[in-house]
């Protein structure tokens, strides 16, 4: 047996090796930066090109417009009209509604399953549950979308007597199915990594298993659980195929959750293949991409900050 030893043969090799690893780390960073620059560059004409601004300037995208003479100002997404209309608000509302339903569905389910799996399940049970839920993440989203379009939609319509088969709830719950494994995996890992000594201390003080998990493990694992929820929300906002198939894609202004929604991501997926390069419609779609990018970036950043604060508090570093 040769003794294991790491000794670089030369300084240059060591330097090269280090630089190579650094490059690997930078690739992801550079890729994100390049993607953002590309998307933003294609969206830029909305701010600069006078011809495109006539059809789609920022205020036209954001505010109510009267598109025909004498028409009451309203929001409308009709990019293929003889008078193209590019209000983003209906899409924004749709994205939010679908994501909200998804989170309302997935957070209790994902976190609940994580508590059960890490605190209460027998080892054997846990070994069944964990891979099964994680398998849910392996289902292609187009399959989930199709399932929602064909099965879920009819089921909900029959149970609740809904007017619209395809609606925010249907799309949101299908989205939720995709989000559950994200939340579950991260939350479960966070809870299992709470030190056993803490659990034992609580038990020694006379706490029953329920008290241990709810008053001790759950708060201690809070940063991880919060991270899972944030990641899940990011997925819910960005997911495309499920909402494209299950939501009905009608760009309407309505606070009702049983009416159809059209989301940002589904709009890009449905329309980008057809647009004429360099047209106003093209730029608007890239602008939507920019918004989505910034949106998820802020969510992740916010999640990180919350996580950091929580960690500090849990470790008793802040007051």
């Amino acid at each position: 047996m040769r003794e294991l030893e790491f000794r670089p043969k030369s300084k240059i090799r060591e330097l090269l090796g280090e630089k190579f690893i650094l490059l690997n780390a930078l690739v992801a960073l550079i890729a994100i930066l390049l993607i953002f620059i590309f998307i933003f560059k294609e969206a830029l004409p909305i701010f600069t090109d006078p011809e495109i601004m006539q059809e789609a300037s920022v205020d036209k995208l954001m505010l109510k417009q009267s598109f025909y003479e004498g028409q009451e100002p309203r929001f409308s997404w009709q990019p293929n009209s003889s008078v193209p209309k590019y209000s983003l608000f209906p899409l924004f509302l749709g994205t939010l509604k679908a994501a909200l339903v998804a989170m309302l569905f997935a957070v209790p389910l994902g976190v609940g399953a994580a508590i059960y799996s890490s605190e209460f399940a027998s080892r054997r049970m846990r070994e069944i549950i964990k891979p099964t839920i994680e398998l849910l993440a392996a289902i292609p989203s187009v399959v989930l979308g199709f399932f929602a379009l064909i099965v879920l939609a009819s089921l909900f319509q029959e149970i609740f007597g809904l007017t619209f088969r395809l609606n925010a709830i249907n799309a949101g719950i299908a989205l939720g199915l995709a989000v559950v494994p994200v939340i579950f995996t991260v939350a479960e890992d966070a809870m299992t990594s709470v030190p056993q000594s803490l659990r034992e201390a609580a038990i020694a003080l006379g706490a029953n298993p329920w008290q241990v998990s709810i008053t001790m493990v759950f708060p201690a694992a809070m940063p991880g659980i919060a991270a899972g929820v944030v990641l899940g929300f990011g997925r819910a906002i960005g997911e495309t195929m499920i909402v494209l198939m299950a939501s009905g894609n009608a760009a309407i202004i309505s606070w009702s959750f049983v009416e159809s929604v059209r989301t940002f991501s589904a709009t890009i997926a449905a329309e980008l293949a057809e647009v004429v390069f360099g047209s106003a419609h093209y730029s608007v779609l890239f602008f939507i991409g920019t918004i989505l990018f910034i949106f998820t970036f802020i969510i992740n950043l916010g999640g990180d900050i919350v996580l950091f604060r929580l960690k500090e508090r849990m470790q008793g570093k802040s007051k």
Partner: protein
């Protein structure tokens, strides 16, 4: 020795592919027909390799203009904008009508409404008619389904039935005619539109051009004889007049045999004299 052999194999494979690979791309309405034609043609001409994909007429035209497809299948004519872009890109579109299609209006099988006029269809799709009772049905909301705006069917229907007005915001758009048919088949108060080749599990509404004309159900005969009011031509676009393999393929598709294949998969064959007129010389 082994290496030389491998290299030769590779070269042979490349040259075979380069010689006869034909790509067809475009309309989702036409993709099934394109595939069947490709299969039959490849059976007869084993050396030919044809790849067919969908994506929508707009996608196909964009591909033709970018020079990434040999044949673009389209269920609508090219727009002036696209002709301009073609000129700019040095592409010279050559259009051949390869089949006919009727756009049917789908209703749920239990829907008591059987016929609709153009004015009623326009009202339903622009949002001025929202209840079935306004067109002689039960007192319930009309659930309107349509296609995504990258579809040739979407554009054709908008121009011919809606007089180019906007679809109602409440129109639920779905990717593909199959999804529309599926949604209407499951929705008692739904209405949708799409090529007549697709309908399974839904019923066709008879359509009247105006109040005085008779209602016509879409079918092979009524589209060919021109009595069904929502019908259209389906096109193949080439870059320049097709020659060689492309010419053989399109002329075969227009032949009696090719048109019979179209009929087998529920598209509507061209009347014989029109097909012959369209042959590439």
């Amino acid at each position: 020795m082994k290496k030389v052999f491998l290299a030769m194999m590779l070269m042979a494979a490349v040259s075979v592919m380069a010689a006869t690979t034909i790509t067809i791309k475009g309309s989702d309405t036409l993709v099934r027909l394109g595939q069947r034609w490709a299969e039959e043609y490849m059976k007869k001409n084993p050396e030919a390799v044809i790849q067919v994909s969908g994506g929508g007429s707009g996608t196909g035209i964009a591909a033709l203009l970018n020079g990434t497809t040999d044949i673009c299948e389209s269920s609508r004519d090219m727009k002036a904008k696209e002709h301009d872009l073609a000129k700019k890109n040095g592409i010279n579109p050559y259009r051949v009508t390869v089949a006919l299609d009727g756009i049917a209006v789908f209703l749920h099988e239990t829907n008591p409404v059987n016929e609709l006029t153009f004015a009623q269809l326009k009202g339903i799709y622009t949002g001025s008619i929202t209840n079935w009772k306004e067109v002689g049905g039960p007192d319930t909301r009309i659930i309107v389904y349509g296609r995504e705006n990258n579809s040739g069917t979407y554009v054709f229907y908008k121009e011919h039935v809606l007089d180019d007005e906007d679809y109602s915001d409440y129109t639920q758009t779905l990717p593909g005619t199959a999804a529309v048919v599926n949604a209407v088949a499951k929705d008692k108060f739904g209405i949708g539109y799409g090529g007549i080749a697709w309908a399974k599990g839904v019923k066709f509404a008879a359509v009247r051009k105006n109040d005085s004309s008779t209602a016509v159900i879409p079918s092979m005969e009524t589209v060919i004889n021109g009595t069904y009011p929502i019908s259209r031509e389906l096109y193949w676009f080439f870059n320049g007049t097709p020659t060689g393999d492309l010419k053989n393929l399109v002329n075969w598709a227009l032949s009696v045999e090719g048109q019979k294949v179209a009929e087998e998969v529920d598209y509507i064959p061209l009347p014989r004299e029109l097909a012959e007129k369209n042959l590439v010389k």
